[in-house]
């Protein structure tokens, strides 16, 4: 498999508080990589630095054979103010901007892409509605459709199922598996929902105690650490 992203000796700090230290890992093309760990362990910080939203104190992040504008991103929370006039279709389309180069307006292909992704997420019927009038779950789907529009190689998801009910979460994981397998999309997902994640993911990046290490999903399931963290659910 081709390497897409390589992180070398990454140290990330807020002011002088070191969150993560000497993190090394790679992301390979076409894989489904889960980032797991406790609250406040630095999972979101780690992916923010991959996305260029937080610059690391030391170390490097290298991209191989792809550029930043081939990334799709679903933020953990988008705090949109209550009266922001933004249409659902407008938002999904805005995901296409990173492929339009210097072109000032959207092309027919862009509009088609937005339509396809809204349909995939089951919210095409809401396309004329105002974003702020939607429910939390519907908003997540619209933002995910936007992320799918902007993703060509790598899709980064920060706690995608928070705010979704269990049925919707299961449906979401099915969609992700479909995208991973049929669109050959590399997926990097931060999640708490470790059971479902282990089911689908190829590998797990476990963030704990200021550092992170990778293992395959199988290894991760068997490790003592996981057993302890999951409260012995697997023994039952």
């Amino acid at each position: 498999m081709n390497k897409l992203v390589e992180c070398n000796n990454l140290t990330i700090a807020y002011d002088k508080n070191i969150v993560l230290e000497k993190v090394n890992f790679e992301i390979y093309e076409g894989e489904y990589l889960c980032v797991a760990g406790e609250n406040g362990s630095g999972k979101s910080t780690l992916i923010k630095s991959i996305l260029g939203l937080k610059s690391p104190s030391t170390g490097s992040i290298e991209f191989f054979g792809f550029r930043k504008n081939e990334i799709g991103y679903l933020p953990q929370q988008t705090a949109v103010q209550k009266d922001f006039p933004a249409g659902v279709f407008e938002i999904a389309l805005s995901g296409c901007l990173n492929r339009s180069g210097w072109r000032p307006f959207y092309s027919k292909e862009d509009k088609l892409l937005a339509k396809i992704n809204l349909e995939l997420m089951g919210v095409y019927g809401l396309r004329k509605r105002c974003f702020c009038q939607l429910s939390g779950g519907e908003q997540r789907r619209v933002l995910l459709a936007r992320a799918l529009c902007s993703a060509r190689k790598l899709l980064v998801l920060d706690e995608p199922v928070s705010g979704l009910d269990p049925a919707a979460a299961r449906e979401f994981y099915t969609t992700m598996r479909y995208i991973n397998q049929n669109r050959h999309m590399t997926i990097l997902m931060v999640t708490h929902d470790i059971d479902l994640a282990l089911h689908d993911a190829d590998r797990v990046l476990y963030v704990k105690g200021g550092t992170a290490h990778c293992s395959t999903a199988e290894e991760f399931r068997k490790s003592e650490e996981t057993q302890k963290w999951m409260g012995g659910q697997n023994n039952a």
């Binding site: 504008n69 949109v80 103010q81 933004a86 959207y106 980064v156």
Partner: protein
């Protein structure tokens, strides 16, 4: 009445006022949508006070007003828009600081040099009826470039306003758009100040978008509607000020305020009717 409106436009100075005013009203209403949504409603006020201070200093030094005002106000706009990212001094507090300081400097410089006179009054409340042909050409040129930049970058401005981290993470050059936006805001305020004055320019920036937001659901419709409202209010305000012999800048802003109140009431009414309807459905 129609006759007096026709007489009104037989005066060349009123034609000049109309052309310059409409172009500035259009440019400021476009920029205003993003400013309001980014919680920068007061930036127009802050920057106009900075340009007031600059004009006072320029007058004291006998410099051309725009030569000093444009760069300083652009720098201030850039600084204020960037401060949002730096949470140590909050954006609104920074605007208040700059507003007060610039106004104080302006007042001191004026009192030491010329004293409060007609010029100063014009800086504060605008002098739309006394603008020259050159002023008009400058206003129209600058506003048209701002409008052109806005139209070409429309979708990108929406993306950055709606969700900046997403735009940055997916490879848009958010910093460049912000800089361009700050620059556009600065030049619009500097030229708009000559029309309606330092005290009223933020009205031109924020009233039309806020009115449009009462009834529009998408960014595109809000922007277009706000541009239309801004031009109509400017026209109506200018005519009214001529007919009733009122100060032009203030009348334009009062027009905007009246339209805002109407649309606010209309928006609430639509909301109530919709709620009533959905309730009816659930009962059935």
């Amino acid at each position: 009445m129609l006759e007096s409106v026709l007489t009104m436009f037989s005066y060349p100075f009123l034609i000049r006022a109309l052309i310059a005013g409409v172009s500035v009203a259009l440019a400021s209403s476009l920029l205003g949508t993003t400013l309001v949504l980014k919680r920068y409603s007061m930036i127009g006020d802050g920057l106009s006070h900075v340009s007031f201070g600059c004009l006072a200093v320029a007058a004291a030094l006998n410099w051309a007003p725009l030569a000093l005002t444009l760069p300083v106000v652009s720098a201030a706009a850039f600084l204020l828009l960037k401060l949002n990212n730096n949470k140590k001094i909050f954006g609104d507090a920074a605007i208040a600081l700059i507003t007060c300081a610039a106004l104080a400097v302006g007042v001191i410089v004026i009192s030491v040099t010329t004293g409060m006179n007609v010029d100063v009054y014009n800086y504060m409340f605008g002098s739309i009826l006394s603008i020259t042909k050159t002023d008009m050409i400058v206003s129209v040129t600058i506003s048209s470039s701002v409008i052109l930049v806005f139209v070409l970058l429309f979708h990108r401005i929406f993306a950055v306003t709606f969700d900046e981290p997403f735009s940055k993470a997916t490879g848009l050059k958010t910093g460049a758009y912000q800089t361009l936006f700050a620059l556009s805001t600065a030049v619009t305020i500097v030229i708009g100040m000559r029309l309606v004055g330092a005290l009223l320019i933020s009205g031109l920036l924020i009233f039309p978008p806020l009115s449009a937001m009462r009834v529009c659901k998408t960014f595109k419709s809000t922007t277009i509607f706000s541009a239309i409202l801004s031009v109509l209010c400017f026209f109506a305000g200018l005519v009214l000020s001529f007919l009733a012999n009122l100060p032009a800048g203030a009348t334009v802003i009062v027009m905007n305020a009246a339209v805002f109140c109407c649309l606010f009431a209309f928006g609430k009414l639509v909301y109530l009717i919709r709620q009533y309807k959905t309730k009816g459905k659930t009962i059935q």
